[in-house]
Symmetry: C2
Subunit: 133 residues, 2 copies
């Protein structure tokens, strides 16, 4: 017997493709770490496992964030916006969220001259985790 689906799922508005954007925020430092998309399956797996899962549009299936790198996100709280069309996941990030080695995917800021500049330093070496090829 399968557990009933949580009631809040019925309050969500999905895109025509069945997706919803999910912002991940560091539950401790408050930094915004990343934004990715979830389908219904990814939301359910996130709830079941307590770790974030997202939907890959190229692979057309949900995937476990950190499943390869070990850089998982332990979910502390899920919030829903007033329109029901965006999720905010507050989580404890292991290692870094960004595949480029930074803690947050938002490591570049717009400088006064209009160029992008990196801020801070990477927290891990991506080539050591994902391979250099």
């Amino acid at each position: 017997m399968t557990a009933p689906e949580p009631a809040f799922l019925n309050a969500l508005k999905w895109t025509p493709d069945g997706l919803i954007p999910a912002i991940v925020q560091d539950a401790e430092a408050g930094d915004v770490l990343m934004m990715a998309w979830m389908d219904r399956d990814a939301v359910l797996r996130t709830l079941e496992t307590g770790q974030t899962h997202f939907y890959s549009r190229s692979r057309r299936s949900s995937w476990h964030k950190g499943g390869t790198s070990g850089h998982v996100q332990h979910v502390e709280e899920i919030r829903v916006d007033c329109d029901g069309d965006v999720l905010l996941i507050r989580a404890r990030q292991v290692g870094g969220a960004c595949h480029e080695g930074y803690r947050s995917c938002f490591f570049r800021r717009v400088a006064p001259d209009g160029q992008l500049e990196a801020t801070g330093a990477p927290v891990f070496d991506p080539s050591a985790i994902y391979g250099s090829g």
Copy 2:
């Protein structure tokens, strides 16, 4: 003579509709306030004025956040994610970001029973600002 467009605009990846999601974070408290969409015009107006502008899909034009309510967002910093397809705006919020009267649009959380529950209290009365009709 028009000023040249900032270089970072060329690093952005827009949806087929010419939009990019923009997360707004409170520059002081760190709370995630909202997520909305920007088109190129909204990004340029945000840069020119120092206050956030977004794209309204129903009106098919950019609009000035807080133009009616006075609850503007003063931009402190714009960040771009590793894939160039999400913006993070760090801003000082006047009043509340949410049209339901809350400081953040993410004022509801998923409770242990799977229902949504409001957290905190509104910071303004929406009917006094937007009218009750």
